[in-house]
Subunit: 491 residues, 2 copies
């Protein structure tokens, strides 16, 4: 039996000094039903093997939370996943900072998050500052340097790492490409990737393999839908020659969360040369990565590529890469420009920058930096990352439960709600068979009503994302609309 | 003897059916004194070899222009390089669109150009459109697609090429890195680069050489300062194994213009495998690349990497790459993402995009696209590219002549003014020796007075750039300030 969130073997941990940290930080709404179930099984197990009840039953009892408890004001829903009047009013007040959310019901956070008005204003302010102080001047250079320091600090704080490990990139994909092209490949090396990766990443790995005579294989992470264990699945895919494992922290199609700490340990135990690259497109800004048990610096993940424009609500065009200090030297820059290079007094390049700036290239839209910082500050002003994650999970459970009750809808995750904000489902015809053409029709029809969801191709489904910004009423509305369309189609 | 602008051998052209197109399009102010000199030499030559005066003397006579003639309203200065009252007023009116130019005297166009207020507003408008229509929705996707089409059209029109040859990048350096990493390298291949390239490009080439066992050598383009011929210099650097030649269209340190059409022909005649990559950081937005004789499509250049944020006055964070159709297939993407990849109905990558989008990666700040388009429109509203270039050359001549008269200043170009807006110079001490420490002091002192110039390390100098937006009065002010500082230092 495993923790559904980090897949730590719970029974194993009962025997040892460590346990799965998630059990102390998971949202109460998610833990409660499972931990009750777990508790009975663990009790039976403990009874069976004769361990005293004091040893680790505390793991289970600890995870049965007091209803509604949270680390900040009003972050979570009550047992029926509806906001209290006070919570609802607080959220409405907070949402007033996001003009773009007005008049619509938005469920595409996994595609792009709405920006707070102040984050949009920060873009203009940044541009005007640059133009007024320069645009090219020593004063602007100092300003950009300081803005870079501040945004790296803000990102590092969000990930639970230090600022010098952070590279700023245009997007998450560039963040993935940096280590993919920067490792010292040898012919015969092997790349293992999950079968749920983004097409862009798949194409990059293929080109990499072609050029460096590297082989690639995929492992069936889609088996997680049938209760598979990701550590076992990846373990079975590892080879003696495996140099790089490429996975996502949150699977963009199913919303499942992979246990990256355990997977990093698996990779590093497998071989001193095996590295783990994590596509964090869906996890930064949704998982509480600055909290104990989640903190990136505790995971030993080698590369973690992310973007600010999805769950953090930052501007499109700014993402980044975390590189674990232990693998920083072996990973060299590929696309290269002045930002990553040190020069001598004659302008001659003498080496790389000693921080994550090593992989940065050249001139960017620097106004994005202050905007992302503002976006992070707005989110923090509502509640800490744990509170926001609790709320996301409460809401995705609410949506998932609502969808599960529908006759003509099948949730992609059938046994438990996603431990993230991504809820994927399929529409079923009168015979109970998914009809993929209907997904596009549903997304189109809903967009006409200013309800925003998207379709995915693999598995062919519709994805609705909930954020801490989502209201319970939005979910109720979405459920009603899907129900109406699904019945019309399926009936 | 060569044309000072494209280095076409004039005497050779006298013998054949073609001549150098620049002689018909160069700014009158620049051509006049030289063509007079040329005329006498050519006449003597023609007399010497017995060719009738009718054959090609027309090349010289054609280039003696009518004073002040230009292709649009008031684009050029009079013989003393001062604006007429009417011209000055028109320019002041035009400059009112650039709030950032108010209260300062700006000469760092080669670092970053000022943005028109409407181009800054286009950024906000773009962000708001995305946020209001989505941010992630089918409607936004359509809007982004159309914005991409429009900005590629605008760029292509500026370069005199077709839109499908254009790749949008974050900056000029990424544009250079795409072909550098995308050519099918073989161990033993050779790269020839000029000795005036940007440190970031030098570092990229070195890393490329290390990885693919490719060799690099530099050719002394700095000899152009002593009257060297760039075609000869590069010809001497070519080897049987030369796969790529990397040069700049305008040398960022001296302001000299390289004859890229002739150099492309040289490369292609040398070997069917030799490609020419041009760093166009300083040329796009300053040279009239949409005019006959300059048009990129006429040059056969293989790769031309540029940015919008310097001479075009666009936003930082958006540049591009032109790829000649004949070399498009052999040049593969390196950093790869969804924007460059085609997928099938299951989301499986099936190949590359068939246009320049092949080399684009993933999510960008799409609001930059409309902003650059607006920046280009503002420039076009003042006069066509030929008129703007005429004015740039008139002004750089004015500045160069002013500097040349100073006892304690030495222009980096000593024999003729730069055929571009980049004017570099050194401060001399009492013994007539350049004192490099003084350059930083001058730039700092001037910035304190809101006069913006920059220092360069190789050659160690100060660079002041003039744009068509520059006023004659700004140059007068700059000359006076440099004179004062130089005398204080040199005296």
């Amino acid at each position: 039996m495993s923790c559904s969130y980090c897949w730590t073997k719970l029974l194993a941990s009962l025997m040892g000094p460590t346990s799965c940290a998630h059990w102390e930080t998971l949202p109460p709404q998610l833990v409660r039903p499972m931990s009750t179930k777990l508790l009975s099984r663990v009790s039976a197990f403990v009874e069976g093997i004769g361990i005293g009840s004091g040893v680790k039953i505390s793991v289970a009892t600890h995870t049965i939370p007091i209803s509604g408890e949270s680390s900040t004001l009003n972050p979570s829903l009550d047992g029926n996943q509806t906001d209290s009047a006070l919570d609802a009013e607080a959220l409405i007040q907070h949402r007033r900072q996001f003009s773009s959310l007005a008049g619509k019901r938005y469920f595409n956070y996994g595609g792009q998050g709405p920006m707070a008005d102040s984050a949009i204003a920060a873009l203009s302010d940044g541009q005007k500052t640059i133009q007024m102080k320069g645009p090219f001047s020593a004063e602007v250079y100092e300003w950009i340097t300081e803005e870079g320091r501040l945004v790296r600090d803000a990102i590092a704080s969000t990930l639970g790492v230090t600022a010098e490990t952070i590279t700023l990139t245009e997007n998450v994909t560039v963040g993935c490409n940096i280590p993919m092209w920067g490792l010292p490949w040898k012919a015969g090396d092997h790349i293992l990737m999950g079968d749920c990766e983004h097409p862009g990443i798949i194409a990059a790995v293929r080109e990499l393999c072609r050029r460096y005579e590297v082989t690639v294989s995929t492992c069936p992470l889609s088996d997680l839908l049938q209760g598979g264990d990701p550590v076992e699945i990846i373990q079975q895919g590892l080879r003696a020659e495996t140099r790089l494992v490429v996975i996502s922290h949150i699977l963009w199609n199913t919303g499942q969360v992979l246990p990256i700490k355990e997977l990093a340990a698996l990779c590093h135990d497998h071989s001193s040369k095996t590295r783990l690259l994590v596509d964090a497109a869906q996890s930064v800004g949704s998982l509480p990565l600055d909290q104990t048990g989640w903190r990136l610096s505790e995971t030993e993940v080698d590369f973690y590529a992310f973007t600010g424009h999805k769950w953090l609500g930052g501007p499109a065009g700014l993402g980044g890469l975390y590189t674990r200090p232990a693998v920083f030297e072996e990973t060299v820059p590929t696309y290269i420009g002045w930002r990553g290079v040190e020069v001598d007094g004659t302008g001659e390049p003498t080496g790389w920058e000693s921080t994550g700036r090593k992989y940065e290239v050249a001139t960017s839209d620097y106004s994005l930096w202050g905007s992302l910082r503002e976006a992070i500050a707005v989110q923090d002003s509502w509640g800490d990352s744990q509170a926001r994650y609790n709320r996301i999970c409460s809401l995705s459970r609410k949506l998932w439960e609502g969808l599960r009750e529908m006759l003509h809808v099948r949730c992609v995750l059938q046994d438990a709600p996603p431990p993230s904000g991504l809820v994927s489902f399929q529409l079923l015809d009168a015979d109970g068979t998914p009809d993929f053409e209907q997904h596009g029709a549903l997304a189109k029809q809903l967009e006409g009503e200013k309800i925003y969801v998207r379709t995915l191709l693999s598995p062919n489904c519709v994805r609705a994302c909930v954020h801490y910004l989502t209201t319970a009423e939005e979910i109720d509305d979405l459920i009603i609309r899907i129900q109406t369309v699904a019945e019309k189609f399926g009936g």
